[in-house]
């Protein structure tokens, strides 16, 4: 991907960079426009564009929404490892983590908007806040969280912005817009910035864990009508799987970007990051195991039906194939097998598989519980997303990637090796 500020150092790679970047952007634009057509159509025809029903009222868009909230919370928490707990080995991905967190939230909220029966009334959730509603709380938490992320990203970038303001590039132009004329960098501002990063990161941790992602888990966990969701461990699983997907995503993005730019990859960081990711995944699997075990042992008919729908029905490929095999068994083997665990390509595959696996996890949370009706005599749900639902999803994700790519073009998101040595100290 093109990074104009780096052109001084990487003159030779610049031309291929721009070419790849151009192809990338045009591919995204095509995807966005294709999806955009279906987004517009969905806005006109309403939710009849979906396969949803009153038995299965939530589907793919809600699954993607919680997936992206998870990615966001996960990448943010990873950034706090760096800025709050001083794990400098991950310094290189700090700002990228924050920016990813912001973009993922934007994508997540767009999915919510797509899913509303009356998108134009979105503001009602803020105007008429119902304090007993987990969803009502979440909408507020998301806004606070996005604001906090933006401030934090700004402070993290401040030094680079000041530096870039003196260059005569596009980045420099944006930087001049964002900084005041007499901003300087000296030891005092460094100390101040670092202190603020720590404070904001510390405030952010409870907001991200309890509010944003644990909170999204409570949207499901508070529903006593659905026994498979209604457990206290559910929000915790949400947070842990958020950490899994967030770590995996950042690892994958870092490796892919470096590869495209033909820049050296910090192998030590990748290996330790992959261990971290596998650790989170193992905790996640353990929690899920107990969750299913208690549900199964309770012998409650509706709970058993839900487990059966997830693990032994037409939909079970999503659980065994995507969530368990691709999303857990394969990546764990890669990370722990001696022959592959030093190989960056193999680890990249593992990370991508984990991200895909978590998409499966999110679908398996939302759909099976809503296939089983609340009374045995009522009709069972039958849900698989329509082409239109997939296309809208493609459009929304493409929008997120576009925002990310353009953001990276205009802002000093990427760490240069020089910054790593002193930032966050």
């Amino acid at each position: 991907m093109s990074n104009l500020a780096l052109k001084l150092e990487h003159k030779s790679t610049k031309s291929t960079d721009t070419k790849v970047f151009k192809i990338w952007i045009s591919a995204l634009t095509v995807a966005f426009l294709a999806g955009g057509y279906f987004i517009v159509e969905r806005m006109i025809t309403g939710l009849s564009a979906t396969n949803l029903s009153s038995i299965t009222p939530w589907g793919a868009w809600i699954a993607f929404y919680i997936f992206f909230v998870g990615l966001s919370a996960g990448s943010f928490l990873l950034s706090t490892l760096i800025y709050v707990f001083g794990m400098e080995e991950y310094e290189r991905i700090g700002k990228a983590a924050l920016f990813t967190a912001i973009v993922c939230m934007i994508v997540a909220l767009t999915f919510v908007l797509m899913d509303l029966g009356r998108p134009e009334r979105l503001m009602n959730a803020i105007i008429y806040w119902n304090v007993t509603s987990p969803l009502g709380w979440e909408v507020h938490f998301y806004l606070v969280y996005i604001a906090l992320l933006m401030v934090e990203l700004y402070i993290a970038m401040r030094e680079d912005l000041v530096r870039a303001a003196n260059t005569n590039t596009l980045k420099g132009f944006v930087a001049r817009l964002l900084t005041s004329k007499n901003s300087t960098i000296n030891t005092l501002t460094k100390k101040r910035d670092h202190m603020w990063m720590k404070i904001l990161g510390t405030i952010g941790i409870p907001i991200a864990i309890l509010g944003v992602h644990g909170g999204t888990g409570t949207i499901f966990a508070m529903v006593k009508a659905r026994p498979a969701w209604n457990t206290a461990i559910f929000p915790i699983i949400f947070v842990v799987s958020a950490m899994v997907s967030g770590t995996a995503l950042l690892l994958a993005m870092y490796v892919i970007k470096r590869k495209v730019q033909k820049k050296p990859i910090d192998q030590k960081m990748i290996i330790s990051l992959s261990k971290l990711m596998a650790g989170f995944l193992i905790i996640d699997l353990g929690l899920q195991f107990y969750e299913y075990l208690t549900g199964w042992y309770g012998l409650e008919i509706e709970h058993l039906d839900t487990l059966a729908t997830m693990m032994a029905s037409d939909l079970s490929w999503s659980f065994w194939g995507v969530q368990m095999f691709l999303g857990a068994v394969v990546p764990l083997t890669i990370v722990f097998w001696k022959k592959t665990n030093q190989n960056i390509n193999a680890l990249l595959v593992a990370a991508i598989l984990i991200v895909v696996g978590i998409i499966g996890v999110r679908f398996n949370i939302v759909v099976p519980s809503l296939i089983v009706p609340v009374f045995h005599e009522l009709p069972w749900g039958d849900y698989f997303p329509t082409v239109k639902e997939w296309m809208v999803s493609v459009g929304v994700v493409a929008m997120g990637l576009l925002i990310y790519s353009i953001g990276e073009l205009l802002l000093p998101i990427e760490e240069t090796s020089e910054e790593v040595s002193h930032n966050g100290k």
């Binding site: 025809t45 309403g46 939710l47 009849s48 949803l52 029903s53 009153s54 038995i55 009222p57 939530w58 919510v112 899913d115 509303l116 029966g117 009356r118 998108p119 009334r121 979105l122 009602n124 959730a125 105007i127 008429y128 806040w129 119902n130 007993t132 509603s133 987990p134 969803l135 009502g136 909408v139 949207i219 508070m222 529903v223 006593k224 009508a225 659905r226 809503l370 009706p373 609340v374 009374f375 045995h376 005599e377 009522l378």
Partner: protein, 297 residues
Amino acid sequence: MGLFSNWDLKPRDYDKIVDQKLPNAEKVLNESQYDTKLGLNMARDARKVINGSMKIDDFHKVYSSSLTMEFGSYYASDTPDTKKTNKGPKWVMVIDLQKCIGCDTCTVSCKAENRTPPGISYNVVMESLEGEFPNIKAMNLPRPCMQCDKPACAQVCPTRATYKMENGIVVIDNDRCIGCRYCIVACPYGARSFDFGDSYEQEMTGYNDVTSPEYGVERGERKKGKTPIGTVRKCSFCFHRLQRGEEPACVETCIGDARFFGDINDPNSVVSKLAASPRAFRLKEELGTQPSVIYLR
């Protein structure tokens, strides 16, 4: 009975018999150490309270000082709290499962009354067979919205579009609902449906011309993109019918006379009496939603 008989006893005659048997109040009271006159006056006024010609509050006002004088610290009564009993009605429905024949008349009349679109039925009759052939028993369980006293739907609604009225009915404000469908997910009885905008216009000309005035709101024609399309709908105990003094459509049309409707605050109403029956139960009581629909098993 007794139409041509002069020897039948009239209520007056019974009164006489009772009066003869009663002890003389004055004599009895004279024997006690307390004020005779006070006792007689109180007895007279107590009768007035019972037949409604005197208010209980006034009774207490008149006698409380003399009672305190007479009984001192032994007297510990005060005006009873009568304010709370003046609430309006609280509607409940009782469904006798022994009388339900599973004909789905309620379902049909509900669809006709509320003009619900395809895919939406506020009331359904859930049918199941129990036991093994040939020893089987059919179970019919009609299910409207339970109008829960602790409604899970209203608890989770982010916009307070769903709320509970004083009269017990759980309302959806379709003009505020954002269509997030959280309430559908949260309702343990599957009583809510999303209005996807479908219509019977193809099968039934004029279907779209008029909608039912749900919750007392006239919305006129059913049109694409117009509320309540894109929002959530459910049974309202036919609130618009209650407003003009009629029973809900399902209650009125029930062939087996299995449904009863009334005010649970009134201890003499049919529903109050039926609710006290040992046959009475409510669905999924363990969830604590406290439904206002009571079944008789």
